[in-house]
Subunit: 430 residues, 4 copies
Amino acid sequence: VTGPIWQKSDTTVDDRIMRFLAGEDVILDRQLFVYDIAASKAHVRGLARIDVLHADESEQILGELDALQDAFESGEFVLDERFEDCHSAIEFWLTETLGDIGKKVHTGRSRNDQILVATRLYLRDQLLDLVARCKDVASRALDRARAHRDEPMPGYTHMQRAVPSSLGMWFAGFAEAFIDDAMLAASTLDWISANPLGTAAGYGVNLPLDREGVTEELGFERTQLNPIYAQNSRGKFELQALDALGQALLDVRRLSWDLSLFTTHEFAFADLPERFMTGSSIMPNKRNPDVVELLRAAYAVVPGARSELESLLSLPSGYHRDLQGTKGPLLRAMRRGLDALALVGELVEQLEFDTERLREAINSEMYATDRAVELTSEGVPFREAYRRVARELDELGDRTADDSIDARTSPGACADLRLDELAQRLDSLG
Amino acid sequence: VTGPIWQKSDTTVDDRIMRFLAGEDVILDRQLFVYDIAASKAHVRGLARIDVLHADESEQILGELDALQDAFESGEFVLDERFEDCHSAIEFWLTETLGDIGKKVHTGRSRNDQILVATRLYLRDQLLDLVARCKDVASRALDRARAHRDEPMPGYTHMQRAVPSSLGMWFAGFAEAFIDDAMLAASTLDWISANPLGTAAGYGVNLPLDREGVTEELGFERTQLNPIYAQNSRGKFELQALDALGQALLDVRRLSWDLSLFTTHEFAFADLPERFMTGSSIMPNKRNPDVVELLRAAYAVVPGARSELESLLSLPSGYHRDLQGTKGPLLRAMRRGLDALALVGELVEQLEFDTERLREAINSEMYATDRAVELTSEGVPFREAYRRVARELDELGDRTADDSIDARTSPGACADLRLDELAQRLDSLG
Amino acid sequence: VTGPIWQKSDTTVDDRIMRFLAGEDVILDRQLFVYDIAASKAHVRGLARIDVLHADESEQILGELDALQDAFESGEFVLDERFEDCHSAIEFWLTETLGDIGKKVHTGRSRNDQILVATRLYLRDQLLDLVARCKDVASRALDRARAHRDEPMPGYTHMQRAVPSSLGMWFAGFAEAFIDDAMLAASTLDWISANPLGTAAGYGVNLPLDREGVTEELGFERTQLNPIYAQNSRGKFELQALDALGQALLDVRRLSWDLSLFTTHEFAFADLPERFMTGSSIMPNKRNPDVVELLRAAYAVVPGARSELESLLSLPSGYHRDLQGTKGPLLRAMRRGLDALALVGELVEQLEFDTERLREAINSEMYATDRAVELTSEGVPFREAYRRVARELDELGDRTADDSIDARTSPGACADLRLDELAQRLDSLG
Amino acid sequence: VTGPIWQKSDTTVDDRIMRFLAGEDVILDRQLFVYDIAASKAHVRGLARIDVLHADESEQILGELDALQDAFESGEFVLDERFEDCHSAIEFWLTETLGDIGKKVHTGRSRNDQILVATRLYLRDQLLDLVARCKDVASRALDRARAHRDEPMPGYTHMQRAVPSSLGMWFAGFAEAFIDDAMLAASTLDWISANPLGTAAGYGVNLPLDREGVTEELGFERTQLNPIYAQNSRGKFELQALDALGQALLDVRRLSWDLSLFTTHEFAFADLPERFMTGSSIMPNKRNPDVVELLRAAYAVVPGARSELESLLSLPSGYHRDLQGTKGPLLRAMRRGLDALALVGELVEQLEFDTERLREAINSEMYATDRAVELTSEGVPFREAYRRVARELDELGDRTADDSIDARTSPGACADLRLDELAQRLDSLG
């Protein structure tokens, strides 16, 4: 529709360069557009409060911003290569519909703080979603820990059979992991909840903007005060949000690795729900745990996005066009990561275990540690007990897995899983 | 159009899971489709040579593969979410148009070797492009080195003025860099030029496939023989191609950093062509070197893609669905990186320097090293000469930049740039 | 002194393999040894509380642990290759000095939870240090912002002169950055403050350990309950601590980049204290800002350590020897990063600016944005005002930098830096 | 012993800053010292050829450089914190022993090209070692492939049993992998074999240095001509050497993952030699495959070192002190990676397989693909054959693994492993 905002009459622009400048920016902006509109509304109300806009001007602009959002959501308005970015699209829409009044929306702001605030609002929503999904997984894992509290399964170290464990302890382990992940996502949300709108191009503006009002209207915890810092924080806050996502995906990867092992023919401990499986194009006999593999793979988007972002940030203060490159990796990683997390709760809930096979996989040598610890209560120093048991591994045959897990009374272990305490932590996340 | 190839009648598939499985796979496959078709043709001819297909069957299939390519290129056939991936699309087209004959194309191959060979062919083209673009930049930099051989400019270490240098040496430095980059891209191309087609799902097949014939037809340097290794090399070869790209982009970043400094008001050594500049949405006075900044940013896609790929590869032997995740980062990084490189030659050619200002920026202290070395020819040990000159920095005032660079006779330096030797190296790359 | 704890009589161990297994582990353990001793004391007191150790046994062990700490700190006891790791050294010392009683210390624990708790205590101290150093930098930057509140300096975007700014705003920007960094370090400290001791090899133990007591004695915020999760969290918590460090180092890098530019001959805005400079081995005339460059470089240890750690964590549940590799990158990055931060406060305090030169660097075109915003108050729509000012850039000559920054009244900008609000945030960090 | 070379009388140096500047530099330099000495000798001979040094001067210096090397290797001369770096140590030694003549060694060179050439010589040796170790692994894997050519083992995709495979094919897969790795290491060696000595601080020197002579004496393939490029290549060449190492370690990781699975109780396909195993500190029953796990972990040093290096390289042209940070990650990664590789050959050679168990693990459904392909020779289109076999999976019971692998005649597969061709490729590496 239009050339770039900054275009002056005497400039001709080479198409290839324009395409390189644009990259996939405007397509990515589709994910940020509603946040840009929301922030624009807050900006307009703020301008009205300091009398830079008349009441009727701000009303008209707010009305058209609502109309634009409706048109975008209905598909009537398409954000595409006609526009340089979502910011230009907003100004274009307002100018088309309102003429001179529309040209006033950009008073006291820059695309530099506009993209910052849109991204910040976007990150806030993603982190809220992350908290919710982690809590969902944790909650279902807790339910299953309760249901399987007393079912033995072998415990491994170095992928070698080590000591008896329980299905309850396995599920509770993931419950606690995702509770911690939710806690981290929540505190990351607090940290990034700082409003950059009103810092303009990175040096503020000669207007007494009502920034506190805008901060409150947009629901931020605090105002990011300093304009230079606001610019310098681009990428910083994105990295921290990616870390929070990454922590959850690290646990998804552990879970997926366990399931990938447990569903081999050799382990055969667990079955996936049918719809989590696919077939092969050449081997008629195959049923493959593809979803579990793609869940395991999901973490990769985080180091990918982090490395890409980090490589962009070695710069002096102030805005640089390099920062445009932060958008793609952030949006892609967030979407893929949260899509993965959205499947985990159901998987945890529907996973089936072959409890008979789990029990059979506990062989008698695995009671050695129990026995060594018992000897200490007879006064044998642990290191002595350890050596004695190592010599007598074949004398452990009459023990049972049930006895072993019943005796595992250290807090958090099989006989004392502390599920209520975990449930309380989960609830306290609000 | 169709469900997945492996779908059996008793399977229902949950939409959300299907979307997660698909990811953006089929959209990415648009960049691989022509390679998949080319490899399919070679596969079909190979099957005909061992009499698995009759001559007329292979002719019909080859005809339809050509037709599919035409339809794809004309936009008549769209590769989209109707298909699981590009491989399924080919089989679908052949079965639709040829019935039972079409169902024969997948004999003796798997999607596992199909994606390997398509990616390998794609990488080969990207690396050829990389070689060409590096050579182009080097060639233009050599031209400019010749043109500016005797123009002084200040040389910096630690971003501090150090010794006189020349514009010719600056351009020649980038020429040699991109020659080395082209050399590396060429040897990487040799290394990855190994044909994996004919290894099926990773264990070969009970047919005496004519793999050498296919290797030759597709123009590979060697056959990747072992099917287990063929699978295990997924990601490995991609990483190496990304490295070759990365080496060139590291030099683009250096060049861009120099230009970013040189175009500041404070340095003011260089001017960019007008069309490499843009404006600001809030500041009417700005002309910004956005293209240079995005060129500097371009390298970031390489560590981003590398990190994402690497995170996927911690796996036992054999195909795993995790590997699907290698596709996106590879294709995105290659495209962005090569698009960036495509602009560099022209930039190097059109860049303008303010030679007067370059000359003025050479102050007299910068002759200190020259003087210290001269003293050594009078028998003063270098470390003594160094100390003496440090005490007499104000006695260097009558020297000129021209004298300094004329005397810089060490091979490769200002007075002996060895441009012909660089030109020979460039030519020898073929 | 001894072979490994687990060594049985029938094993011979190949030296080369042993060296590979050991790596640099025991040398790195020197940084963890005091934490291992502190945790051992808490473990011993816990065993006494549940009557696994008699009062006099625990007293003797505690006494010898204190003696070991003294001997280590005085250099009398050297932790070196004689020991497999710091855990073995403790057990060796106790057994040498106390005989059978010493052999009891390992009752109910494993090296798996021992390394977890020692690392966690170490991380806590590092994060406390990180909080303190960020607060120190922020505090000094605030002082300087107050002192230079009204001194103009040019503001840059794209490294191009953009609008007038102030030295006060520049210092305040770093103050706010390091306040946020301190806030993040503090919340990361909360998050990792979870006691893993008492989870043994990853499956708990058949003793009713008093874990809450140990948690309290060691000053942790909560108990990490689940033994499987405790193992799975190895690396996870380390990554998060590295992120907190990284956020601070990102700001150190920005600051260093600014100073690297500001100390060029071309900008010449700032001078470094003499002792932050070094010379050259060949160029007698050079004074180089090496410290600033190494501060800029310091961030690199974080992505380095993160990538190395992340690459290790693609594993199923439970301990794996791979995890030993998390130690080196963590300890190296923490030490280098905190050493860098320790220099920044002083640098911020002692940095000298050439205020005259800063003022001269503000040319008249930089008032264009001020003028465009002013026009909006006369009712000219911003986009119109922007175009008009772009045409009349040469009419801005009678404005002054002082007027411009006095008029910059948007909260956080030059005329309203909100230093008191920042000081309050800093104080509220405790 | 001495303060820094560049120290002038009026400078006082703060200890803490000096420690930060030094980092661990001089300790790391121990690995580079012999290369610095070798390059110094070539530099001295070059200076003599252009008459900057008299014959007797150069003889004396060369004699003392040999003496220094002897003293260093015998431990008589210790490179430690007394020196700023290894370059200063050389100059110190020569000045101490030869007085004024010693002060002449630094004529026409800078520490900037000195560290470049020492690192380049070091990299060359590491890459030669890498080639040798990859060839050793490949050679032993080929031997074992020959020995186990006809022994069936199950082939997996998605970690699910897929089709019959053979032990010969598994070993041959790793042979081909390490042949490719050796090939890459060799071509990387060619690429980095460029002599930077004679480029001084990055701008050459006013002496007609005999650079070709030095290049030849040091055994480089070509001279790195341009001094600016020589500086800009710092880090670039190191990254490429790390990549070559990384490719080999990726294959070590695959191999280790396979062995980690194969040595579980559940798979129980393979046994490690006793000395590749260790025990547990708490569990008397454990024998753990620690070496295999640390081999799997070894790859992590490469992305760690790469990320750290890459983060340092976003800089304008010319030397910057940031580059000092490239040394540590490079040296650590090379050492750890090559130490790991040194164990792999022996592991491959001594690994024992339970061939009975491997055979039993092939169940009848795994013949489905064979059957489907056979049907195509009866004219059934493959996709039809696939569907038919999927319905009749229980009719495959009378097939044998031996028949299946004998029929796998596609080149590279079980019945046609092409070991001679692989051996030829290995031999052709020289």
